[in-house]
Symmetry: C2
Subunit: 219 residues, 2 copies
Amino acid sequence: MERFSNISMAVVRRLPKYYRHLGEIKKKDIKRVSSQELSKITGFTASQIRQDLNCFGGFGQQGYGYNVDDLYQEIGNILGLNRIYKTVIVGAGNLGQAIANYSFFEKSGFIIKGMFDINPKVIGLKINDKKVYDIEELVEFIKDNEIDIGIISTPKNQCQKVAEALSQGGVKAIWNFAPSDIKVSDDILVENVHLSESLFTLSYLLKEKEDIEYSNKYR
Amino acid sequence: MERFSNISMAVVRRLPKYYRHLGEIKKKDIKRVSSQELSKITGFTASQIRQDLNCFGGFGQQGYGYNVDDLYQEIGNILGLNRIYKTVIVGAGNLGQAIANYSFFEKSGFIIKGMFDINPKVIGLKINDKKVYDIEELVEFIKDNEIDIGIISTPKNQCQKVAEALSQGGVKAIWNFAPSDIKVSDDILVENVHLSESLFTLSYLLKEKEDIEYSNKYR
């Protein structure tokens, strides 16, 4: 995928983390937070945080820190969460149904306009009030409804074919849950969900813990 | 959660990314890769990559780079993927069933010993050959089967209760898919899957793209 902005992907990927942690601070009714406090919560250094937020204009004030409500709202706006995006879910199996049932999804402005599947047993069903259509109708549906984002929750072996149909229909972005990379033209944004990264991090920490316990026992 | 190692979490979180990219390079039958080439693929700087891998002993050779097969295997071992972990899935709804059906999970050494739910309609069923038990049996099952990892795929409002039962049973780690943080004692590792981080990154990039297209059109 091609980008024109000079904000690095590393910064972009930290923004949702700031947003999530700020949401948690906000819930505790905390009104003001310093970059040092944010550092403790997020695990990034205070200077990293100040530098990141400076990319988008300075939000903090020296000696005061950041106003939590304002910063939360500002980062939400930077993330585009004040907009509405139209989405379709392709693959109405377990994973697709789980996504359709996640309430945070529509609450964040990602409206599910329809679901698509190849399986006659699920075509015509409604999942959380979203109708499942025949995948044959996908390209036309995207064009008619000006869909912004296609979500792929098919098995691995179907995802490239689906990505091409989404591309043909004219989506601007793809959120891919299939555990396989997809190839589309550079003007379509692709975000892959890599569950293995989270699982393997856990695996590392568990191994580290066991090794330390073992060495403590026998030293 | 408490850690005793001096490897920073930032390094730990990059390891699964290296592992994934090396797996892709390996599939293309490439035998040798430099830190510069790895930098292009992963998006991290070459010096960052060299520094990270040096934390675990030097794997590369100056002028030669890294042997892909060896490095892949070494990082797999560092991640603990040469071990077997026993897991249970709590919450046998759509998400739990999707996880049970992911083949990469068991292939990576995470064996699903059982699934648990509160719903009489799913208790007794088999999902991908894994039996669904009554959640009442969870604590005893963990003790009897020496379960290492509990996977939470329940709705948000159930996850804290489930985390406590997993903790009482004696799991060493929790992989939490519920979109809410859980509180357990410090000696249990917790890894949360935050789908919102991936979604909000996509949202940011889409907004950026639209803004640039808009300004190109009207400048």
